[in-house]
């Protein structure tokens, strides 16, 4: 019996291997870019290459990593969560109030409270998206406003200052019992958990399935609505965790806490190779994306470029990332035909 699927010309498998490497290329590409960037920056500002500075960078991106991972899971399902910044703001304010009133409360309670509050906010998103058929962009655009408005309503314009917060709470993010700041360790833990979840559990793989072909998912026995609800719920939970760390790190909770943060989470994801149409995205990619953003933010300050250009740099980075994605894709498709 001869080789049956001779419809596979040998040329195709070679190209498929190429595609495979190019997909990996994304992470390799960012890594190379990061190294180049680090090299260039060090030339201009030698203080870049110090452990103190790296510590700073890691601290700066820890919160971003946590929320970007959540955003990634949402984007993989072909959705988006624009409300993360407002969720962080609201939970931050509420937790700060509670901690101020109960300074003896164990810090772990604050963390759990934050995550619980975040879960409520996230589940509201998930509910209106799955049951209400509200498109994710509209739903989260709406809750972006609603939750931010609730922050104002809650605090009546006041905010919580550093001296109103107990020390043990402030040490949550900065303490270094294990060498690295707690916050960084937490971020690493979250990354590990999410990695395991997405790559080694059925539910995690279901997320990819729903993203790449939502219509076919029910036929494969996947409960699409539950998966979509889940990613928004997780987004809320992680935003809640991020909120507690935010208050701890910056030692304050203001009405505009985390305003505009959602852009950075999407940027980190997109730069890290997550496709806005769903189904594609890896944890290492997002970590690298967040790292790149952090390095850029850090180096711009070191090179004494006005912080006002930060935003422009982030925007430019997003554009470069998607353009190069498209370029790679068209190249691959053309040779594949």
């Amino acid at each position: 019996m001869q080789n049956s699927t001779s419809a596979t010309p040998p040329v195709r498998s070679y190209l498929s291997n190429l595609v495979w490497t190019l997909v990996r290329f994304r992470e390799a590409g960012i890594s190379i870019f990061i190294l180049l960037l680090m090299f260039v920056v060090t030339l201009r500002a030698p203080s870049f290459l110090t452990t103190d500075n790296f510590n700073d960078i890691l601290l700066n991106i820890s919160i971003l990593v946590i929320v970007a991972l959540a955003q990634t899971m949402v984007i993989i399902t072909h959705g988006i969560d624009l409300s993360v910044s407002s969720m962080i703001g609201l939970v931050a304010m509420m937790v700060a109030f509670v901690v101020k009133q109960n300074p003896e409360m164990p810090v772990i309670f604050a963390v759990l409270l934050g995550m619980a509050l975040g879960s409520v906010l996230g589940s509201f998103n998930g509910l209106i998206i799955t049951r209400g058929n509200v498109p994710p962009i509209i739903a989260t655009l709406g809750t972006l406003s609603i939750y931010r408005g609730l922050v104002f309503f809650y605090s009546q314009g006041t905010w919580i200052n550093s001296f109103e917060l107990p020390d043990n709470f402030k040490m949550l993010s900065k303490g270094t019992p294990l060498g690295l700041p707690n916050m960084v360790i937490i971020a690493v833990l979250v990354a590990l958990v999410v990695y395991y979840f997405l790559n080694h559990t059925r539910t995690g793989r279901d997320i990819y399935a729903v993203g790449t072909n939502p219509d076919a998912a029910p036929f494969a026995g996947i409960r699409k609505d539950r998966i979509i609800f889940l990613v928004y719920l997780l987004s809320g939970i992680l935003a809640g965790l991020a909120a507690v760390l935010w208050v701890s790190r910056f030692e304050s909770a203001q009405t505009n806490t985390a305003s505009g943060f959602e852009l950075q989470t999407v940027a980190a994801s997109v730069v890290g190779g997550v496709s806005i149409s769903g189904g594609v995205g890896t944890v290492p990619g997002v970590l690298l994306g967040a790292l790149l953003l952090g390095i850029i933010q850090n180096s711009l300050t070191l090179i004494r470029i006005s912080p006002f250009w930060q935003l422009a740099a982030q925007g430019l980075l997003i554009l470069i990332a998607v353009i190069s994605d498209k370029w790679i894709l068209t190249r691959v498709e053309r040779t594949n035909k």
């Binding site: 001869q2 049956s4 699927t5 001779s6 498929s16 790559n199 059925r202 790449t212 494969a220 996947i222």
Partner: protein, 502 residues
């Protein structure tokens, strides 16, 4: 104990008051290939969807192994051992082959951790036992349609489906791939699986099926053993009347050359394509799916322009870079995929027909509704479109009527060169004949027609000349007199042994 593994009794299903299934009964034996035959709109797809739980019947019963069952969704039918493969494949493009086979059911170790090693091993074993050779790590996106179908079958195999439903599985396959598919199907049959096979290609039914059930207009007509029927019997049962002339071809004297293509190429898609098209003639383009015929058409029409070679329209050399330009040059293209490229499903008939010629009804950009509608109505009436009124949305129409709308749209641009890509795919026999008659009439009036088709009877019946393409090259050129089925197939599959195919 019953001899039937699946029985449907008196199935009735209504959509918005219209009865799509009327007291249909169907019985399936284990280890048989049971064909389901009928024109488009006969209700085959709906019956299958009732079997798999996509739709719930308004009346009737389903019996599995003699016991009454009901499925409220596809998960339940799957759990009962019923798997279905549709024309629109339900693979996950960004997951790899192995994961696609086991999606939703990945093997786990204790604690819920996916056992990747076992998954890849099992997938590999499965594909090997089916004689399918694929790289397990390839994303489904990069597979050909035939390969994707293999993966779907492997998936059905892996869930130990006792009943496999295949809806028009061969429409996009090459002859070789069809042979492979049939081999798999026979294998499944030997193992006792019952297969429901929907196809309108009668040759395939005669080759593969054991019994055939014919449906017409939502009702059950008859069930026969394949050995007891002839081709004409089947057509008569399907249509309810005899179709006298499916290919009404008039003899037309060809005029001057209107389209001349020389060494046309598009990197990675097709190369060295040269041919001429004359007024009044129908040039058939035969070949397997993926041979590049549609790509050539798209290049001529400016959707995916050629990267090398020349096109001459009525003697003048032109570079066609957009459909807009192509239309101005007198070209029209009726695409292969109606829903995707031919129609605007959520817009009314009027808007669909007038779209390419909208500027005619716009005085300085201002739309003249009445004029537009009158013109569109005239075109629709001429095509004998059957619908409620001009405001009806095209997605509510049947396949045949939709094709009529697409045709009237393009004819109202007054083209001199008409390119038809699979003009009778997915439409009922009655409309098929009408479309062919139209083609003949147009040719007689001087239209130059390029007809791409994968149906050999259509190619042989309607073409004045036949071009055959294979993997981006022209491999055969026959006049109407010379062309035979064997010659065309030979040119279409050059350098590949036919094996068990024909």
């Amino acid at each position: 104990m019953t001899e039937y593994i699946l029985e449907l009794k008196n199935m009735t299903k209504r959509f918005s008051g219209v009865e799509v299934l009327h007291e249909v009964s169907f019985s399936l034996r284990p280890g048989e290939v049971h064909a389901l035959l009928g024109e488009n709109g006969a209700g085959k797809s709906t019956l299958v969807k009732v079997m798999t739980g996509v739709h719930q019947p308004d009346k009737g019963e389903i019996h599995l192994d003699g016991k009454r069952v009901s499925f409220s969704d596809t998960r339940e039918s799957r759990q009962a051992g019923i798997a279905a493969i549709y024309q629109e494949l339900s693979l996950f493009p960004d997951l790899d082959v192995a994961e696609n086979i086991f999606v939703g059911r990945q093997p786990v170790t204790t604690g819920g951790r996916i056992d990747w090693r076992k998954l890849y091993a099992d997938a590999g074993k499965l594909l090997e036992s089916l004689g399918v050779h694929l790289d397990l790590k390839h994303k489904a996106r990069s597979l050909s349609i035939a390969q994707q179908q293999m993966v779907e079958i492997a998936r059905a195999f892996s869930i130990n489906a006792r009943i496999l439903i295949m809806d028009e599985p061969t429409s996009s396959l090459t002859l070789n791939e069809v042979a492979d598919l049939f081999r798999l199907v026979r294998r499944l049959r030997e193992e006792g699986t019952a297969i429901v096979f929907i196809s309108h290609r009668l040759e395939e039914l005669f080759e593969l099926a054991d019994r055939v059930t014919i449906m017409r207009d939502g009702s059950y007509v008859d069930t026969r053993s394949i050995s007891d029927v002839t081709r004409d019997d089947l057509i008569r049962l399907m249509v309810g009347r005899t179709i006298t002339d499916l290919f009404p071809k008039q003899d037309v004297k060809a005029g001057e050359v209107v389209l001349k293509v020389e060494n046309l190429a598009r990197a990675g898609t097709f190369h060295d394509v040269s041919f001429e098209l004359q007024r009044g003639e129908i040039l058939g383009m035969a070949g397997l799916v993926g041979a590049g015929r549609t790509n050539v058409a798209r290049a001529i029409f400016g959707v995916e322009p050629a990267t090398a070679g020349s096109i001459q329209i009525e003697g003048r050399q032109v570079a066609i870079t957009s459909p807009q330009q192509a239309i101005r040059l007198g070209l029209a293209y009726v695409p292969e995929d109606r829903q995707l490229h031919g129609l605007i499903p959520a817009m009314p008939i009027t808007s669909n027909i007038s779209l390419p010629t909208l500027f005619k009804y716009a005085k300085h950009g201002w739309l003249q509704d009445k004029t537009e509608r009158k013109a569109a109505y005239g075109a629709a009436l001429q095509m004998e479109v059957r619908a409620n009124n001009m405001w009806q949305l095209t997605r509510e129409l049947s396949g045949g009527n939709q094709q009529k709308i697409v045709l009237s749209k393009w004819l109202s641009t007054n083209p001199r060169i008409l390119i038809l890509d699979e003009p009778t795919r997915g439409i009922d026999v009655g409309t098929k004949a009408a479309v062919h008659a139209l083609m003949s009439k147009l040719a007689a009036e001087g239209m130059a027609i390029l007809m791409i088709s994968s149906e050999l009877p259509e190619i042989l019946g309607m073409s004045d000349r036949v071009l055959v393409m294979r993997e981006g090259h022209i491999t055969g050129h026959f006049s109407r007199a010379e062309a035979t089925q064997e010659k065309i197939i030979s040119a279409a599959t050059q350098a590949v042994t036919l094996g068990s195919a024909q």
